[in-house]
């Protein structure tokens, strides 16, 4: 059974068309991440699911009931907000209990659930404190506690980690993932951070300009993007794009370099395309060339160490590409060397419609 089903949803703000006909099905217990650049409509979509925005047309079903016109309180959802939305005049315990008390849950039950949620999040010792006395990370835990204490069908997260510093963000990401595994609840999570999306999601829904660009398992999107946009959005450092022309067995770059693309022998030759190469699938030339790989001579221009890995910048086929190399086999800038490219992972994009061929 699906806990959330959205059919042909549209949202207009005056002349601005924020959501342009979205269909979405979220099965029970799944962790779905809505991701996309700012202005793609992901937050609007989430807020429409919550009932904080009114749908212009289309339907929203939660737990099998049509709630398109229901008030937020009648939707049986819980939500974690970007800026925590803690009530400054209530202490941590009353903040967590707020939703339960609003729904007239008996006080004994409130006590039990609050202490369990607090324990789960490791904030049991903070219950008597007020939000202003908490650190950012603690506030975020309280905000999450306020959501999970509820017995909701659907848990919504609106960029909950975007206000935390990098270290804390990594910790909280782990925390949220663990909570999902323990609780097994259906969660919909909005973020603009593709790393958050990749690490947390059972399924990523990538939005662009109010439409779903592609959805699926994180690795699926990473390995088999359907469009140039998806290919470029996921992954860090970003995918390299090089203008190329098709040949019978692969592509030719503007400097004449020919690269065979395995399994793509049926291409029509002479067509202008864009070749997409992930920095992770480029390595320094080894002793022998692995099957499906292509070896190319390059000159390294710039080296950026990141610790265990090194990002090397080099010109290739009229473009500048980045390769993520192992730290120990990197060369000095200006040095001529050879790289091996895993062409089985390469994507070929039609520049006309930006679709992956």
């Amino acid at each position: 059974m699906s806990d959330l089903k959205i059919t042909n949803l549209h949202k207009h703000y005056g002349a601005f068309h924020a959501v342009k006909g979205i269909d979405l099905d979220v099965p029970s217990g799944e962790f779905t991440v809505l991701v996309g650049p700012s202005g793609c409509g992901k937050s609007t979509l989430l807020r429409t699911i919550a009932g904080l925005e009114e749908a212009s047309s289309g339907t929203v079903e939660i737990g099998g009931e049509d709630v398109t016109w229901a008030r937020p309180r009648d939707r049986n959802i819980a939500m974690v907000f970007q800026n925590y939305a803690l009530y400054p005049y209530l202490n941590v315990k009353d903040n967590i209990a707020f939703g339960l008390r609003s729904r007239k849950v008996p006080e004994a039950e409130v006590e039990k659930r609050v202490s369990r949620a607090a324990e789960m999040l490791g904030i049991g010792h903070l219950l008597k404190r007020f939000p202003r006395e908490l650190s950012g990370g603690q506030r975020q835990r309280v905000a999450i506690g306020r959501a999970i204490v509820r017995d909701a069908i659907l848990y919504l997260f609106d960029e909950p980690l975007s206000n935390l510093d990098a270290q804390l963000r990594d910790d909280m990401r782990v925390e949220i993932k663990r909570l999902h595994q323990e609780l097994g609840r259906t969660m919909v999570y909005v973020t603009h951070d593709q790393i958050e999306a990749m690490t947390l999601a059972d399924r990523i829904v990538l939005l662009r300009d109010g439409l779903i660009e592609q959805q699926g398992a994180p690795l699926d999107l990473f390995e088999r993007p359907k469009t140039r946009f998806v290919a470029g959005f996921l992954g860090s450092p970003k995918m390299n794009f090089i203008p190329a022309t098709t040949t019978e067995t692969g592509v030719a770059l503007s400097d004449g370099t020919r690269l065979d693309v395995p399994g793509r022998s049926g291409l029509k030759a002479g067509q202008a395309v864009v070749l997409g190469l992930r920095p992770q699938y480029i390595a320094m030339a080894g002793q022998s060339l692995a099957p499906g790989h292509a070896r190319v001579p390059v000159t390294i221009e710039l080296v950026q160490p990141t610790g265990s890995r090194v990002q090397a910048t080099m010109p290739l086929g009229g473009a500048t590409i980045i390769a993520e190399l192992a730290a120990h086999d990197v060369s000095r800038p200006g040095e001529r060397t050879e790289i091996d490219i895993d062409m089985t992972r390469a994507v070929i994009i039609d520049p006309q419609n930006e679709q992956v061929i």
Partner: protein, 295 residues
């Protein structure tokens, strides 16, 4: 599965329900009297006569012949154009005085604000006692300074009564200007004034080109609030002179009150009210545009 019964519907009219009582009261107390006045101002109702037939612009024509009315407007204007700039300049000077650190600054400010928060009637009454020619301290102090007995009739002598009123008015409302301008000055970005100082700008230039533009929005509102208050000045004068001697200090508010409640010129008072509202609207609109409060 049954559809959830409660739709957004109960919320739909919520926003109207919560604003309705306030709007109703404002219509009753604010708009109803205006409409009533408008209707009555086209009739001829006074103490003698309740002639409810349409009298056209009779009352409005009367306005132009009524020299006492125009004098009362002139008195109002006189008080406003003298008191308002004085309050502004004094308030600004005081704000500068207290802008930087000063021992017991907070206590001083609290004491200085006292005149503004007491009732204008009490303020007028207080100055009535102060201005008394024989037993009041003002004449006594002036006598000390002059070195001879001074017996000024502040609330009776036509040439002294305006200084008295304006003095009282300034005493009560300068602290208002002071407080607002002090807050505005404290909000001015210090790095800007410091940059101007380093550039060698004089105090006047710094004020003109850095401080004034920063505090102007607040200052303009303060001027507007005080200007409106001065235009409808009633209480202080009522307590000090009741418009006397004769009609020498009658302001437009006092005159309208006298016409309505002493002469019972119902229709004529209504016409005066509309003249006041008309003048106020014109001046306000002009001032708001002029001061750049609305683009």
């Amino acid at each position: 599965m049954p559809a959830i019964a409660a739709h957004h519907q109960p919320d739909r009219n919520f926003k109207y329900w919560i604003i309705a009582p306030a709007v109703f009261l404002l219509l009753l107390i604010g708009l109803f009297p205006l409409i009533y006045s408008l209707v009555v101002s086209f009739m001829r109702i006074d103490m003698m006569d309740t002639d409810t037939s349409f009298a056209g612009l009779y009352n409005y024509k009367q306005l132009f012949k009524d020299s006492r009315l125009w004098w009362s407007l002139a008195h109002t204007l006189l008080i406003t154009v003298i008191a308002l700039p004085l309050e502004l300049v004094l308030g600004l000077a005081m704000a500068y005085l207290f802008l930087e650190k000063l021992p017991s600054r907070q206590i001083f400010i609290s004491l200085l604000v006292l005149p503004t928060i007491i009732s204008p009637i009490v303020a007028g009454a207080t100055w009535r006692l102060l201005f008394d020619n024989k037993y009041g301290p003002i004449n006594q102090i002036i006598s000390w300074i002059a070195g001879q007995r001074v017996d000024a009739l502040w609330t009776i002598n036509p040439s002294l009564v305006y200084p008295a009123i304006i003095f009282c008015e300034i005493w009560q409302w300068t602290p208002f200007m002071f407080l607002i301008l002090l807050a505005a000055l404290s909000n001015v970005d210090k790095s800007q004034t410091e940059a101007a100082e380093i550039d060698g700008a004089s105090f006047i230039r710094t004020f003109r080109y850095v401080v004034l533009p920063a505090i102007w929005p607040v200052m303009a509102i303060a001027i507007l609030i005080r200007g409106l208050d001065l235009f409808r000045i009633f209480d202080i004068i009522w307590a000090l002179t009741q418009g006397g001697p004769g009609t020498k200090t009658e302001t437009i508010s006092i005159y309208a009150y006298v016409q309505g409640f002493k002469q019972f010129e119902t229709s004529y008072t209504a016409a005066i009210a509309f003249l006041v509202i008309f003048l106020l609207t014109v001046v306000c609109t002009w001032a708001i545009r002029r001061m750049g409060l609305v683009k």
